[in-house]
Amino acid sequence: MTATLTEAPQAQPAVDIEVARSWRTPIILGVVGLIAFVLFGLMTEGGGATTTFVLSRPNDLFTIPAITVPAQATAIALTVIAIALAGVSAWGVQNRRKIGMWLPTVYGIALVLAVLVWAGAGRTATSIQLTGLLIGTVVLATPLVFGSLAGTLCERSGIVNIAIEGQLLAGAFLAALVAGAVSSSTGSDSFGAYVGLVAAPIAGALVGAALSLFAVRYWVDQIVVGVVLNVLVVGLTSFFFGTLMRENPELNRAIGLPDLPIPVLSRIPVIGPVLFDQNMLVYLMYAIVIVLNIMLFKSRWGLRVRSVGEHPKAADTVGIKVNRTRVRNTILGGAVAGLGGAFFTVASGLAFNKEMTGGKGYIALAAMILGRWSPKGALAAALLFGFADSLREQFGIIGTSIPSQFLAMLPYLATIFAVAGLVGHVRPPAAENIPYKK
């Protein structure tokens, strides 16, 4: 017994165990790059055909001239850059180096630009409206951002919110109904629209409350409740659309929120129209993303919410009311999604229609996962989906040989690839979909 063992070796000693490298990412990047090279690089119209990108709008502070590039050369260059990036990724794997998110980001931008160059090649009459594309991105992303924020709020506290779709739809419905009622009694459309905007979160919160009742009080599987609540909301809104709104057309008119361009900022080329010439709902979205991101990760409330979603029993043992937190978050999440629902009616200046959310709630759910349950990430993922949607509209205008249905599929396919592990391992809150019982 002469051993003097004062300290166990804590540091892991160097180990010579050979771990298999995962070549999946470079292979996929490479294959997609090569396909793009053939389809969009080589197939782009050559022989002096050009593509023109328009950036400025008429009332900008100053004008950025339109950019015209030789189509084929540019498309080839861009796809070659993408293939080179796949090579960099392979090099990283070979040398066991981690490469940051810049690589897939730059890769994606290069490929998108290549597709745009291809689509705009040789069209003298039409050019690619980059600014319009980006405006469309922000606008189309709006309901997705709200939806995925709602999902994040709920899931961070351990409640799976499949009912985002229903919350969006309920918000859209009530916003239109209240806007119609208020504007017809006060005679002011924009006042009515603002009251509708206030009403929307109430509808979403009600759906959230129903979700929390069944999930927290009755321990029903949260996915089941969510799916069924979606059906219920479709049924209720369609029923009242077919009765109440049909008999009283003044309750469902196309009423829109006015645009609120921010002075000066809105006239900066590109950035201005994209970010600062929007309506109240979009500005609310900016605020909510920023506030939630800070609150969730830096505040007492956020720490407690996350502890409830990860290890509710631990939270309980330090005096945090688990179920109360969950109910509050689910209702709050419902309200956020409900607010997002206003996008479909008052924020777009449209009347309510049956099932008008068209599955955006499910896409928002995907954006939440892609965004890894953080408001910041949700915003980024929603913008990505918004861009795909916007691209489809743009291509619809200029007319390309890509069938619009395939473009429409892109967000769904992207989501499938994402959840199948292409974006790395995603880790949901550990206590998701597990009722907390003492």
């Binding site: 069944f214 009755y218 409740v225 059906v231 029923f239 659309f241 395939f406 429409a408 396919l413 959840v419």
Partner: protein, 403 residues
Amino acid sequence: MSAEQTTAKAVEEQDDRSVLRQIAESSGLVVALAVVASIVIGAILVVLASPEVEEALGYFFSRPADTFAAAWEAITGAYTAMFRGSVWNYNGDTFVQQFRPLTESLTMATPLIFAGLGLGIGFRAGLFNIGAQGQIIMGAMIGGWVGFAWDLPWGLHLIVAIIASVLGGALWGFIPGILKAKAGAHEVIVTIMLNYVAANLIAYALSTDAFQLEGSDNPKSPPIAETAQYPLILGDSFRLNLSFLLAIAAAFGVWWLMERSTWGFRFRAVGANARAARTAGMNVPLSIIGVMTIAGALSGFAGSSQILGTESSGLTAGVAGSFGFDAITVALLGRSRPLGTVMAAILFGGFKASGPALQVQAGLPVDIVLVIQSLIVLFIAAPPLVRFLFRLPAPSREKVVAA
């Protein structure tokens, strides 16, 4: 945690682990009361939406009885219309007219039985498959193409077209299955996404020459060849076809598969505790892929009953209706068991069949059926809520803890 707590907790968790179990153990009384509660709430909606009631409310304090009379009329109007639309049309002039609603209900129930059976297998195997809609679309699309584009003799053509439908659905179940098994992709997300992919695929297909009716710009295919159509089983006056009998047969098949076969044993074990199943040597990924593929195949069968049966006039993007989503509620209501699924499918088939009668005779949108349907499932998933609504005593909850 001490042993008895662990056990008590384990028992409790087992009791409540999934809604599927909740539903499986809910008593018949709760099911009946859930239906009653849902119908009552539906009645409230009918009253709220009735212009006559609104009118009578205007002079409620002078003649309150009018309001109640109007409300009663609205409710009875709605529900008798539903009855006439789905069970027995006692206003019909001929027997055929009187009897047709029931056969319509069974016709509507057929795809629900197939798809509901498939989803039920998934639920029991712990897989929440939301993808029946996409699977039905794929089944109908591929089976329909064989049905209108191929030229085969009577009998054989139908069989080949059915097989094509089944394979189409199976493919759309296999994809989320293998992604779940090999990459851990959550089946809820993947199946939802595949529903949209399928919807876009069929929209695209119907814009191509291979599918579109020649000389037409409508997104609709030529009609299915008569050789590939399900024969009608009650004569030409009724739409009920052979696929209904096949659906009943499928229910027996699924019962045998889940209760009496080694595959079903594995599916159940993997669904209830995948880790223990794996430790005992079961191939969990294969089981997941198998369940999803079989579920998809059954939904593909549902697709065949649409395109080779009721929708044989031609493939459209709306061929699946909302059967895929309704099948989820059917499987939940049917407790994921074959018999329950058949009964639930017939109930919901009846709801669906009553739509036109509701619309025409009672002036109500068919969407009220969705409300009643979803409420039924919600109530059944939460028996304590139903007991609370009807002031029933709670069942004696025995937490079995053996010493």
